[in-house]
Every structure is written in C-alpha cells, then in structure tokens.
Amino acid sequence: MSEKPTTIGHSRRDILRFAAASAIGLALPGGLSAVSNAPVAHDGPSGPLRSAGVLAFGPNNVLFVGDITGATIHAFALRDKDLTSQTDLISGNFHNFEGRDHVVGLDQKLAALFGTTVDKIVINDLAVHQPTEQIFLSVERGRGTDAIPAIVKVNHGQLEILELDSIPHSQVSLPNEPDFKAMLEFDPQQMYAITDLKYYNGEVFVTGITNQRFASTVYRIPYPFNSNMATCTVEIWHPVHGEFETRAPIIRQIIRELNGEPYLFGVYGCTPLVRFPLSALKDGAHVRGDLIGELGYGANPLDMLTFTSPADSKDYLLVTIDTRSASQIAVSELASAPPQPTGGGIDFGPGGLGRTQRALPIKAEHIAILNSKWAVLIWRHPKTTYRLDLSTLALPYFFERKDGMSEMNWPNGPDPFHYREHRNELGNQ
C-alpha cells in the first residue's frame, strides 16, 4: 500500500494526507471530496458564503450571489461540469396552459437532502441559467444566526448541492452595511442590506440599504470585480405615503435599454414603480427617480422580470405581488410614461402605469422565465398547501388550467379554446 492516500477522479485538492499512518484514506469521486488537515478556507459546499440571498446570472456562466451576512457579492464562475442542459425536459402542454411539476415537495426534499426538518428550510431566490435552462436556488438550512447557506441546482427533477468550495470564485464587499443589531419597527435593518442584484453590460447593480442617512442605495460594481465601485443614493416620491422617501429600499430591479438608453426600473414596497436613467447613477450622486406608476397600496413586490409574449411578440414587465395577482405592464410604456407629479397629498392609487396594469393570476413565492414559452415558479398551490412545488407556467397568461374548475372540464363540456385538439401535445418549446 502506498504511504499516501490515493485520490480518484476530480478533487480541488490533489493528494491528501490522512492523519493516522496506518489509515489509508481514499478520497472518493462522484460528488465526493476528501479530507485535508491543512486549513483550507471556505471548506465545504457553502464555500465562501455566509448567507445565500438573491441570485443572478452574468456572462460566461457566472452566478452572482448576494450575501447579506457577509456584506458581500460573490461571483462563481460555473464550469461546464457544474451545468447540465435541461432543454430536453418536457415543460408541459403549452397550447392548453398545462404546466408540469418539476419537483413536488421541494421544501420536503431540500429538508431531506440537508438532513433537517422542513421547518428549517428557507428558499431565498430562484434563477435560471438561460442557455441550459437549469434552475438554481439559494437555500438556507436554519432560520437563526447559525443558518447554513447553499446553492442547489435542479437536474432533471433531482436536487443537487453545488460544491461551492471547488468553483472558481471572486467577491466584492459592500461598504456601510447596516449594523446587525439595528432594528426597523418590525425587522432587523440588515434584512434589507441586499434586496436585489442584476448584471448589465459589464456591471453588477445592487440595491439595498446602508447605515447612511440616505439609506436607499444603488451600487454599480464592475465585473470582473475591481476597486472601482460606484455608490449612489436614491429617493422617490411615494404617493401612498404622500412624502419623499430616502431610506426605504428598491425591493426589485431590472435594467432595460429603451430607445437606445439604459434604465434601471425599481419597484418599492406599497408599491411605487420608479425609473432611473443609468446615466444619472454616478458615484456619490443622490438621485431622485421618476415615479411612473403606483401599483396599489398594501402590496409587497416579490419578483420583477420582463418577458416577450409568445402571443403578440411584445415585451412586458411583470411584477409579482404577495397579496394579490401579479401586474403586467407593456415595456413600451416604461420609457415614455410621464413622471407622476410630486408633492401632493396622500393618494392610495393606483396611479400612472398602475392604472393600465393588467392583473395576471400568479401566486408564486419565486418566479423566473425559463424559456420563450414557459416560466418556472415555486408555489404552494391551493390543492397542496402543505408543501412547495417547483412547476412550470405557460406564457403569456401565466394560467394553470388544471387547477381550475370550469364547465370545460366536464367530459362533454364546451371547448371554446380547442383544448381537446391539443390534449396530447406535451412539449418543451
């Protein structure tokens, strides 16, 4: 027997010495790694993460992760072996608005995989790697300060934990994070330190709050990361509250080019939709955004995205809301919508683009666009409230026919939408 233990297959660390001279350690491949007595930073599948929050993909298969506890944005350069194409998966019956469950009991399966009980599983975000259509989740085991973060990917319905300690990684720290003991009236301030992140044209845009007087902040961070970070603070007129606000953060953001100019669109709690030209978001600037829509009081935005409708080929903005149906607004209106007047009294809205928003029947904890015809969502639908499912939902109506009760479901019922003609048309695209 050799003096050194042998490694088989791939491992970040090559040859590993096992402590006891008599014990011959053999590091096993296939999602298996090995032991080293040498101190290795970020050992284990959590890698450098201290918490796992918002996710976004950038170019060259880079996965960005917002880490509130670490006050850090991480970039993991996923390798080919970290990605498995899912484009062969059947998403459902598109013509008939019948999606498919990719993972039934997502929360229960995560609990089993993480060796815990379902009450300890928190899913913080969902992102799709568009070229492979592979779904990534940011997950935490535990709800306290000892929560363990991880990134999980879905491979043909199976959950696989990304071994982040072996993936090429870079990171950047965010300055002025809120004190971890500072409270809002109901929540710790730190909860909102990183609310969203997006990659656009060589930069990562991060929204959230800091410990500064104007707390609501947008960071522009060049990627690959360097020291040239731009930080600006943003304020808005909030019609439902009848005041200018500088601390409540942008909850979700997207960046779109419209008429040749890039804009950041942000949506706030209770529920202003605000437009910022990127050209105004300069380092050190304090920027007032244009309020272009008030989507209605008492609502918390969950996700914001755009999609191209397979019905009319137009682009739409979609904002999912915790308390009611999602809002759909034509992207073409985003650039041209006039700023709403500021300085008036309290107006519960809706206002501006909020008046033309269309309600879509989406009840999702997280949603993302999977491909040109399907969205993917994590939801607790009415028939399975005891568990979370990961399912597909057909664009552009975001309507799941099999959950409804209607005359058309009767064996000899009417068929105004020709569902019966397409009954067997399962497909991906």
Partner: protein, 371 residues
C-alpha cells in the same frame, strides 16, 4: 483449537471531535469488500445506493421519494465514512443503512441498520451502561429460562442478537444456547431486555432437548457478555462491555410453593415493610407485577415494592401506615421462578389431565392479621 476470527461489521456515529464534525461509519468491513471498493472506478456512486443516510422523521405523502442526506464518502483501511455536507442536526433522528448485497457475490455481508439522534447538548445524558442482569445470583439452575438485562438509558432495537453472547469457561461461544427471537424482547421503556435460553432445549422430551441436551451444563462456568456496540437511543455505544459470570447448579423442576413463603409482618401503625422470603429465587420482573396486598374489604393497598437478596426477598412499604385488620397477599397466576416454574406447576411438567381452566385463573392467596 484455532477458531476463525469472525469480523463483525457495524455502523457507528463518530464523536463530534473529529475534524469534519460527526460522521457515520460502517466499520470492520471484510477485506474482500474493501478490496472490491478500491477497484471500483466510481465507488462514491456505488456507495450512494448501498450506504445510505436519511432523515427518519418525515412522515408525508412524498416520503418515499425524498432524497437521502447529501454527503461524501471516505474509504479507510477497513471502514467507509459518510460525512454529511452539512453537519447532523441535534434532536433530528437519522437512519443509516448499509446493505452491500447488491454488490453481488462473493460479498455476502449482511444488511446493517442504525437509527441515531444527537441530543441537544444540555440533554445529553452520561454514557449508557448495563446496570443489572437478573437473576442476580451467580449460581444458577441448569434449567434457567431467562435473563433480564437492564440499561441506564433507553436503547434502540437491532443490535441485541449480535452483541449478546454466552461463553463457556474456555471462552468459546455456547452454541445455540440463547434463543434468537425474531423480535427483540424489550419492555415499553426500552431499558429492559429479556434474553431467553432456548426453551426447546430446556423442555425435556422435545426435539432440541433430545438432540442437543439442555443449553447449560451442570457444574460448568459461563459468562454472559453484553458487547458495547449495542446502541442507546442516541446511537451511542455503551460505556463498556458488561460480563456476568456464573456457575450452573441443580435444575429446579417444581412449582412455586407459596405455602412455604415466610411472612414478616409489620407493626400496626407503622410504615414498616411487609416482607416475603422465598425458598428459591423468583423472576425479578414478575415479582414487581404479580403480588398485591389487599385489605379485608378487597381494596388494593398502595405502596412501593423492593426485590432483594438475589430475588428471594420481596418487601412492600405502604404509602399510608398499616392499620389493624386482616390482609390478603394475592399472588398472580403468572408468577414464575427463574426457570419458568409457576405457582401451578413445573415449566416442563406433563400435560394437565384436568382440562378445566378455572384453577388457572385465580392464584393462591396468603393472609395475615395485624392487631
């Protein structure tokens, strides 16, 4: 005589002092199995289906399709370690299983199972040990029927057969002496285990007795050994193995003669113990259940029972002081001595001639009077 050393594979949970936190190991693997795993190109993939660790407490309609705990495997000299990707949580019950049979011949190791729970730190009791083995005497009759093994904490099923052995004076296993029941005979508290000697060899004139003779040989010395790898509720082995040495004496083949018991009566007005002295040791567990004291009007007197003097003494301390009157000592018909002889007859007596059951239902009764 040169006996082959039998390798006994086992599952065990490591201490949390190991460098990567707790792990589960299957230890003492046969050299064939280790050699086979070393030749596999992807032993991890293979182990995933034969060495599995799962959360044990997930009752749900999806339970069958839930994944195993995510982790990695390490192959050591004669051991495979499973190291979870995220540390095992305290107060969560896990189930580990190792079943190498799908790997095929000539690997014939059997399936192993271990349920374990790492208690929260403040709850973790001291290591479990064997507190008593009954009968407590070290001179036992040739036709002894059973032992009771008592543990300081609740235990888990699954390892009693493997860990409990009877050895003769030369240290060789007493073959087929202990009965191997299909279900381990634990009491409700999971702290007391009944270990039977083979009743077929005890009962004269039946097949095993005729072929093999009684399980214990008169005049011989034996050792009953409780190995430390019997697991407690928390998946931990015992503090140390436990051995009871004893010598085999004459068999006892007669009914329990209640009329020969000596009664030491207490003083009226006191809470002194009422004491019964038996002519030979009776069954420890049944002594705690089958004897009750009733007042003249049939009320059961409450009190505490202590069994002592190698199960030849039964004492009863009442909750309230004794008052004058007549008392009845009711003896349940299920009372037995250490050989299974009952108050009705010997364990291997001939069949009853009288088919009436009436005599079986009511046990005998003794009386005493306090003035």
């Amino acid at each position: 005589m040169n006996l082959p050393v039998e390798r006994q594979s086992r599952l065990q949970v490591s201490s949390d002092r190991s460098p990567h936190g707790r792990s589960v190991s299957v230890c003492s693997l046969g050299p064939d199995l280790v050699a086979f795993l070393r030749t596999c190109s992807r032993p991890g993939e293979l182990l995933r289906s034969v060495f599995r660790v799962a959360v044990a407490q997930t009752p749900s309609p999806e339970a069958d399709s839930l994944p195993d705990v995510s982790g990695r495997y390490l192959l050591l000299e004669d051991e495979v370690q499973f190291i979870p990707h995220f540390p095992f949580e305290r107060e969560v019950k896990y189930r580990a299983s190792f079943d190498p049979r799908p790997l095929g011949a000539p690997l014939t190791a059997e399936s192993l199972n271990l349920e374990f729970l790492i208690p929260s730190e403040q709850k973790a009791p001291t290591l479990t040990e064997v507190t008593h083995i009954f009968p407590s005497c070290d001179l036992l009759p040739e036709n002894l029927l059973r032992f009771y093994v008592c543990f300081s904490n609740s235990m888990q099923r699954g390892r009693a057969l493997k860990e409990i052995s009877l050895f003769d004076s030369d240290g060789r296993p007493a073959v087929d002496a202990l009965y191997r029941p299909p279900v381990e005979l634990w009491d409700r508290s999971m702290r007391h285990l009944t270990v039977l000697l083979d009743p077929g060899r005890l009962k004269r004139w039946v097949g095993p007795n005729i072929q093999l003779g009684p399980p214990l040989k008169m005049g011989q010395k034996y050792t009953l050994e409780i190995g430390s790898w019997i697991n407690d509720l928390y998946g931990r082995p015992l503090r140390e193995r436990f051995r009871k040495h004893f010598v085999v004496g004459d068999p006892i083949r007669k009914r329990i003669a209640v009329e020969d018991w000596k009664i030491l009566t207490p003083m009226t007005g006191s809470r002194q113990a009422l004491v019964l002295i038996f002519t030979s040791p009776l069954d420890w567990a049944l002594l705690l259940q089958t004897i009750t004291i009733e007042s003249a009007d049939g009320l059961v007197i409450e009190g505490r029972i202590v069994v002592g003097q190698h199960e030849r003494r039964w004492s009863f301390t009442p909750t309230s002081p004794w008052i004058s009157g007549v008392y009845h000592i009711r003896v349940g018909s299920s009372l037995e001595d250490v050989c299974g002889n009952s108050i009705r007859g010997a364990f291997d007596r001939p069949l009853r001639k009288d088919p009436s059951l009436a005599a079986e239902i009511n046990g005998p009764s003794l009386s005493f009077q306090l003035i």
